[in-house]
C-alpha cells in the first residue's frame, strides 16, 4: 500500500516524464518484436483483440478453465497470483511496473510458455502482437 502512494508523490515532485521516457526507451523490445511478427506476415495489431485473448477462457482436457488471468490480474495495473503455487506475480502494465516487457529473451520465453499452458498450443504471430500492444497500451 505504501509504495504506490510514495511513488506517485515522488512522481508529482519530479515530473513523471522521467519514468515514462525510460520505459519507452527500453520498450524497443516491444517495437522489435512487433516488427518481427509483422515481417512474419501478421496484419495490424489491435488492443481490443489482445484484451479479448487476455480475458478468454480455454477449457482443458479435464474440464477446467485456463486463462492468462489465472496467474496475472484482469486489471493489468494490479499484481496477480500464480494459480498453482500462490506466488505473487507483479503487475503487468509498464506504468505500474517499469521492468515489464523490457527484456527480449524474457518476453519471448514467457509468451511461448504461457500460451502453451493456457491455450494448449503456441500463439501465432498475430496473437502475440495483439497481446503485446494490449499489455503495453498503458505505459
Amino acid at each position: 500500500m505504501k509504495h504506490p502512494l510514495f511513488a506517485s508523490v515522488l512522481c508529482l515532485g519530479l515530473g513523471c516524464s522521467l519514468q515514462t521516457t525510460s520505459w519507452a526507451a527500453e520498450s524497443a523490445t516491444v517495437t522489435q518484436l512487433l516488427a518481427e511478427y509483422q515481417q512474419a506476415g501478421a496484419a495490424e495489431f489491435s488492443v481490443e483483440a489482445g484484451k479479448a485473448l487476455w480475458e478468454k477462457s480455454f477449457p482443458t482436457a479435464d474440464g477446467k478453465q485456463r486463462s492468462c488471468t489465472a496467474c496475472h490480474h484482469l486489471d493489468l495495473s494490479k499484481a496477480g497470483e500464480h494459480v498453482r503455487t500462490g506466488k505473487t506475480i507483479a503487475a503487468m502494465a509498464p506504468n505500474a511496473n517499469s521492468k515489464r516487457l523490457t527484456k527480449l529473451k524474457k518476453v519471448r520465453k514467457w509468451l511461448k510458455r504461457n500460451c502453451k499452458w493456457t491455450l494448449g498450443r503456441v500463439c501465432n504471430t498475430q496473437e502475440k502482437g495483439d497481446l503485446l500492444v494490449f499489455l503495453s497500451a498503458n505505459q
Binding site: H82, T85, G86, K87, K109, K112, W117
Partner: protein, 377 residues
Amino acid sequence: MDNNTSAHSSTEPVRIWDLPTRIFHGLWITFFVLAWVFHEDNRYLNIHVFAGYAFLALLLFRLFWGLFGSHYARFRHFFYTPGAVVTYLKCLLSIPQQITGHNPVGAWAIFILLGLGLVVSLSGLITLGAEERQGPLATLFHPATGLLWHEIHEFLSWLMLAVVAAHVSGVIIESILHRENLALAMINGNKQRPASTLGVPRHGKMALLLCISILLGAGFYFGACLPYESGRACQPFLGPKLPDNVLWREECGSCHAIYHPTLLPQRSWVKILDTQHQHFGEDLDLDTDSRNEIHNFLTTYAAETLLTEAAYKILRSIPPETTPLRITETAYWQKKHADISQLIWQSPQVRSRAQCEACHLDAAVGTYEDSAMFIPN
C-alpha cells in the same frame, strides 16, 4: 553496619573493586541468566547466541583486566596454592581472617568459573557451528557431531550453574562469618577497612568503554529489527551467506518460491532438470546453456555440501534408494511441519506448502534460520 568487627578501632569505606570489575560481574550474571532463559525455544536462539557472545566478550575482558586491571582485580593478587585454601578453611571457624581482596576459597571459585565460562562459550560456538552451521566455526565440524557438542555444552553449563551455586553459598557463609556484606561490596565497590588500607581508582573510563562496546555489539546484532515496529517480523540473526546465481534465481524463482540447492540432494536436482518438460505439469523449456548453468549450480551446492542445518537433516531423512522431486515430501520437512494446521496452509498468506517465504523470512537466501520463522495469522 559492621564497624566493630575489625580488630582495628577506626575504619572507613575503602574502594576495593574498581568499576569495570563490578560492571563485568553484573553483566556476566545478566548474560548467564539470559542464556539460560532463552536456551530451550529455538525461536529465541538468536537471543541465546547473543547472550553467549556477550558472555564470552566479557570473559575476555576479565582476563585482560586480570593482568592489567587495578590491584585487587589482578590474578596475581588472588593466586593461592591449594595449601593456602586448606589453611584458610581450617582457620575459618576459629579465627576469621580479615582478607581485603578475594579470599583463597573465593579466589578458586573465580578461577574455576572463568575457566568453565571459557569452555562453555567454546562448546557453544562449536555447537552453533556443527549443528546450526552458523557463527565463526560454521562448517568446521561435521553436523553429525552436532548433538554430541550440544550435550557437552549443556553439561558444562549445568556444571557452571553448580559452581555458581557454590560461589553464592560461599559468599553468604563468608558474609555471615565475617559480618561483612560481600555482595554489597561487589556492587558499591567498598569495604570497611582501616584508613591505611590500599584503595583502588575507579577506572570510570574503562567501565564506560566496556558498556559502550556491549551496547554497540547489541546494536550491530539486532540492528535489523530497529526501529522497532510491533508485528513486523525481523531477522536479526543472519546466517553465513550462501551461494547464489542470477540465472537460477530468475528461471527457478518465477513461478514459485526459490528453493535453495541445499534443500535437496544432487540426484534430485538432476532428475528435476532431466524431467524439465514435465515439471509438475509445466514445461520449463530451458535452452541447453541455461540448463547446463543451472544444473551446475544446483549440483555443486546441493544438500551434500552440508552448508546448512536443513541440508544435513533433509539429506539424512531421505532413504538412499529414493530420489524425491519435492522438498515437501522429505521426511524431515514433513516432521518439522506436521504441527501446522490445515487452516494455516489454506490461509491467503500461505496458500501452498511450497510457499516457503510465507513463513520463513530468509527463504530467498536459503538459510532457514530458527529465528527467522513465523506463522502468519
